[in-house]
């Protein structure tokens, strides 16, 4: 079993104990431990259950590529599922729970799936659940839902803080191994602005573990000196615990810094998202070791050779007393040597190659380790832990020649450069047959806005796996990069790196090479998604030739580890099954992020009240202090109604409507769009914008107008006031002001750029109040100033002057059908003006009213509302607004669109009013079914409700609707479907329910 060694451990501090719990049980580790190393030191080799078959799983890796050891971390508002134990730094009080096991990790009922494994092959879901249909609902879905899924989602709101950083640099280096450090040093010395990111808390990468020597001393000494020098450079930013997450267009890179994960007590943001613009990006992201595909390669205790070495050297953790090493390359011999020098037993090294005579194998032999060439693992004995391996000839079919008792297996199938960041933005790969790996093709690098490559690689990420070559590669590539950005690179020689010379590996995609179906069904490719060699072969057999299709069919590489360990082995297996070369099969697409990043980091500070800006009218605080129930309107907040003590919203709305109709209502209409169109060609322009002939409007007058897009679809409406000979003030909907302003700019800048017109969005310059009701004129006369008599200021006229001492424009327009004045004052005076109206209005029964009362009153009058009666497919003619469309104008925006056959068809749905026979209120959006079925076998419909309210004025439900040939069907009764009720019958009537002659507004 695994345990902590008495000495060693370059990353741990034995004087600093750290207490933590796993599944509720207390454990202890040291500062510098990861959760993985601490658990392994505590004898925990079983850390999770697999996704599909619930097989027992332990650690495979020691870093970001770990597929198995996913745990839930923290509790309550700080709980987070699917965290990799290998990248979780240990701290005092850490709480971790295992996942995907019930009732417990040791005794998991889901393991029954394992017994049925042969009934759950690749594509199982696709094939199985097609037929018979009823089984899906009652059998398959409940079963899958219970057994699928990894960790549980947190149930509480995240208690932590997150933030974004913006940064710009000449050179961004991702990866703080020796290649990354060397690249950063070269760039830093050349005076470039450099940012260096390292995903772990430690610099130097693998070199210290691998015993690399630099400039005559241990790698660690050089690494420390390099970090110190970089730290001293003002032009260099060092960022450990920060992963290069994704590379995007034109040198945009996301970094993911885990600021507070390792120290939750610190008052810092938990994660920080770095949004970096880099002229050049160097990926020094190293390489990942590949597992070997032999039967039972998922049994806990079977680990990557490099991970075994890491646990021994970095954290003084022995994965087992007796470790069998199985490999196809020289590098894994380092693991055997590291185990040996830690005093642990290595019963044998099984090398699949026919010969192993390099420097490292000879060292192993010199240490008395038994080396068996041409051999592999036929199978692994053990359920929850390795107990032995069966040795076979790699060339054979898996006959066991010998069993070797052991409690750990260190496997190495070679290394794959981490090409993710290179590939994110279009960098292409080439197949290196000698090393059996895909590496970045420097001639097909991702290119930036200027067409020049902006990504280069350094070290193992280039495919230069051996430390001395990695250093040379980093130095040379960096020189080229610096030259490309016009920087003189320092003439220093790169440091001298000593690393054992490694003999070439032999590609091994299956062990033994002649393994039959029984063995292949136990060879795991993707540990997290439970995909085996047999699944990929089945996919190939069933015709999935494209690697992208095979991936989706088998779910290979689709788990949270994104196939870091499985992709190359998987596509090699596919290529063998298809009898094609690996480069012909190709890779799947690498997509960001490199490892999962928190959603909260993506959101950063943009949550809660600062999610988006809030627009307030000048009277906002007054509304707030006077009982406003807010309604969001775009980014504005508008009072829906003003509730009084004991009132429901509904009561309040009805009171506001009745009071406005009978006495006096005040509405804050400041959000209304106000766009000034001015210039010698303003008439010409305004006639293009509106469907009607607005240019005939006289100064001092107002007119209702419609704006359509080029399809002829109605997109905005409002009252246009002519200010003077060359200026118009266009009122738009509250939500449409910015859009319409942009629309005008577009036409003026891009189509009619020779017209002399300018447009200004004045929406926020004015506060606007609608004074509405029979007492409206009385109130304005009380304020004194402008003559607002019927004769001087008739309906649809406007004037300006002072009103109660306020500079004001008064528009006599009405959206309620009552006598109504809309008064605009400078925004800075809005609050004072509003309060003056409220105060002076007391004797006239003035009450503020909100948007809902506004809606009810406009519906009672049959006035349309953009977004209710329109949905982007409605032309003005559908709404009976033909009178607002000029027949004389040669052109306006939307005219040609309206001429199309479908727009002039008599079969369109048109606006009508509806009166329910029982007086009830129809639900919004209710449809009226018609006879017959459409082409999709669905019931035909003949109309739908667009606006529907209880009218306090009429004491009954009223609605507006679009109905097939509606206006021709006045008096007809049709039925609307209402969920859970019998269809509601409604009579088609004129859409104007109240004061159809408009006598009330014209007084």
């Amino acid at each position: 079993m695994s345990t902590r060694l008495a000495t060693g451990g370059r990353l741990i501090d034995r004087s600093a104990r750290r207490r933590f719990t796993f599944d509720g049980r207390a454990h202890e580790g040291y500062a510098g431990d990861t959760l993985a190393s601490a658990l392994l030191a505590g004898g925990h080799t079983l850390l999770g259950r697999s996704f599909k078959y619930h097989r027992p799983r332990g650690l495979v890796a020691s870093g970001a590529e770990e597929p198995n050891a996913l745990v839930g971390l923290g509790a309550g508002a700080r709980f987070e599922p699917n965290q990799r134990a290998t990248t979780t730094e240990l701290f005092d009080g850490l709480q971790a729970v295992s996942q995907n096991a019930w009732p417990s990790l040791d005794w998991d009922v889901g393991v029954v799936n394992n017994a049925f494994a042969r009934f759950l092959p690749a594509g199982f879901y696709y094939k199985m659940f097609m037929h018979p249909r009823p089984l899906w609902k009652h059998l398959f879905e409940p079963f899958i839902r219970r057994s699928a899924g990894l960790g549980r989602a947190p149930s509480e709101r995240d208690a932590d803080r997150y933030e974004h950083f913006y940064a710009f640099c000449d050179v961004l280096v991702v990866g703080g191994g020796i290649a990354g450090l060397q690249a950063a040093l070269a760039a830093g010395r050349a005076g470039a602005r450099v940012i260096l990111l390292e995903q772990t808390a430690h610099w130097g990468g693998r070199s210290p573990v691998d015993g690399v020597r630099i400039d005559g001393g241990p790698a660690e000494a050089w690494i420390n000196a390099a970090v110190q020098e970089l730290d001293g450079m003002e032009n260099v930013t060092l960022r450990p615990r920060t992963m290069g997450a994704g590379v995007y267009d034109h040198g945009y890179v996301l970094g993911y810094e885990r600021v507070g994960d390792h120290d939750p007590a610190a008052e810092v943001p938990r994660h920080r998202l770095w949004r970096i613009r880099a002229a050049r990006l160097i990926t020094a992201t190293g390489a990942l070791e590949r597992p070997l595909s032999f039967a039972g390669n998922d049994v806990p205790g079977v680990m990557l050779a490099s991970a075994v070495r890491d646990y021994v050297v970095n954290w003084a953790v022995s994965p087992g007393d007796r470790t069998v090493v199985v490999t196809n390359n020289d590098d894994a011999y380092r693991t055997a040597l590291a185990l040996k020098s830690a005093g642990l037993e290595v019963p044998a090294i099984l090398d699949a190659r026919p010969r192993a005579e390099g420097e490292l194998p000879e060292m192993a032999r010199a240490h008395g380790i038994r080396v068996e060439t041409g051999k592999g693992v036929a199978k692994v004995r053990g359920g929850r832990h390795v107990t032995a391996v069966g040795v076979c000839a790699q060339a054979g079919e898996g006959a066991v020649l010998e069993e070797i008792a052991c409690d750990a297996v260190a496997m190495s199938g070679g290394w794959s450069p981490v090409v993710h960041l290179w590939s994110h933005c279009g960098g292409k790969l080439e197949w290196d047959a000698a090393q059996a790996l895909f590496r970045p093709d420097p001639d097909r690098a991702p290119t930036g806005h200027d067409g020049h490559p902006f990504v280069a690689t350094a070290g193992a990420a280039s495919g230069a796996l051996q430390a001395d070559r990695a250093m040379a590669d980093a130095d040379e590539n960096m020189k080229n990069v610096l030259q490309g950005i016009g920087r003189k690179s320092p003439s220093r020689k790169p440091p001298k790196v000593e690393s054992a010379e490694e003999a070439p590996l032999a590609p091994v995609w299956q062990m033994p090479q002649g393994a039959g179906p029984a063995l292949r069904a136990k060879m795991w490719l993707d540990y997290q998604n439970d995909v085996k060699v047999s699944d990929v072969r089945l996919a190939a057999q069933e015709g999935y030739e494209s690697v992208e299709h095979t991936k989706r069919y088998t779910t290979l590489g689709m788990a949270t580890d994104q196939g870091k360990l499985s992709n190359i082995n998987g596509l090699a297996t596919l290529s063998q099954a298809l009898h094609e070369e690996i480069p012909q099969v190709g890779t799947t697409t690498f997509r960001p992020p490199y490892t999962p990043i928190s959603m909260a980091a993506i959101a950063g500070e943009a949550r809660g009240p600062v999610f988006q800006p809030l627009r307030r009218t000048p009277m906002h605080e007054w509304h707030e202090a006077n009982g406003a129930d807010w309604e969001p309107v775009g980014q504005w907040r508008r009072p829906y109604c003003y509730r009084r003590a004991g009132e429901s919203r509904r009561d309040a709305v009805h009171r506001e409507v009745r009071n406005t109709r009978n006495a006096l209502g005040l509405l804050d209409a400041s959000t209304l769009g106000k766009i000034m169109v001015s210039g010698p060609d303003a008439e010409r322009f305004i006639d293009m914008l509106y469907t009607g002939k607005m240019s005939t409007l006289k100064p001092g007058k107002c007119r209702y107008g419609l704006m359509c897009d080029e399809n002829g679809f109605l997109m905005d409406d409002g009252v246009c006031a002519r200010l003077d000979e060359r200026s118009f003030l266009c009122h738009t909907t509250s939500g449409g002001a910015e859009r319409i302003h942009g629309w005008m700019e577009d036409w003026l800048q891009c189509e009619w750029w020779d017209w002399q017109v300018h447009v200004v969005n004045l929406t926020e310059q004015f506060a606007q109040v609608a004074v509405v009701g029979p007492n409206a004129r009385n109130l304005l006369e009380r304020l004194g100033g402008i003559d607002v008599s019927k004769e001087t200021l008739p309906f649809m006229a406007w004037t300006e002057g002072t009103l109660g001492g306020f500079r004001a424009r008064v528009f006599r327009i009405s959206f309620s059908g009552e006598l109504s004045f809309e008064i605009a004052v400078p925004a800075s005076e809005g609050r004072a003006f509003w309060e003056r109206l409220v105060e002076a209005g007391e004797g006239f029964g003035a009450m503020p009213y909100g948007t809902e009362a506004l809606h009810v009153m406009r519906a009672e009058k049959g006035f349309i509302m953009i977004g209710d009666e329109t949905d982007g497919t409605i032309i003005p003619q559908d709404l009976g607004l033909d009178w607002a469309i000029s027949k004389k104008k040669e052109d306006f925006l939307g005219k040609r669109g309206m001429e199309r056959v479908n727009m002039t068809s008599p079969d369109r749905w048109k606006l009508v009013g509806l009166e329910t026979l029982d007086g009830s209120v129809l639900p919004d959006g209710a449809h009226a079914p018609a006879e017959g079925l459409n082409a999709n076998g669905q019931r035909n419909t003949q109309g739908r409700v667009t606006s529907t309210y209880y009218s306090p004025t009429l004491g009954r439900g009223i609605a507006m609707a679009l109905v097939h040939r509606g206006p021709e069907r006045m008096g007809e009764t049709i039925a609307f479907n209402v969920p859970g009720r019998t269809p509601v019958k409604a009579k088609i009537v004129e859409p104007v329910f109240y004061d159809p002659k408009g006598e009330r507004q014209n007084v």
Partner: protein, 107 residues
């Protein structure tokens, strides 16, 4: 996220400072135009894998519309120029030709 330079104010900024406005150099088909011309104006858009001309507005800057000549395959930006033109200016065409000798030309 693209980097673009506004030809009006000279600012080079991130894509999020701009709004994309679809294909550039469309010819408006107004009243009286035949159906196919109108359909082309309203709906038919080029979607080339290569050189493309696009409308952009510096919406969180100077507010001006401009055009960008861009490669949709490599995202290389050949140049940006004011929107007050019916076809790409000669210097932009020359810049594209220099980088993409096989380009079939504008329209």
């Amino acid at each position: 996220m693209l980097l673009l330079t506004c030809p009006n104010c000279g600012v080079t900024a991130e894509e999020s400072e701009f709004h994309q406005g679809g294909e550039a150099h469309l010819r408006r088909a107004g009243p009286g135009s035949p159906d196919d011309a109108f359909e082309g104006y309203l709906f038919t858009r080029r979607n080339p894998h290569g050189v493309h001309f696009e409308r952009w507005r510096h919406v969180f800057g100077c507010g001006k519309w401009f055009h960008a000549a861009r490669c949709t395959a490599t995202l290389e930006v050949f140049g940006t120029y004011p929107a007050q033109t019916t076809e790409p200016p000669a210097d932009i065409v020359a810049a594209i030709r220099a980088k993409r000798p096989d380009w079939e030309g504008f329209r």
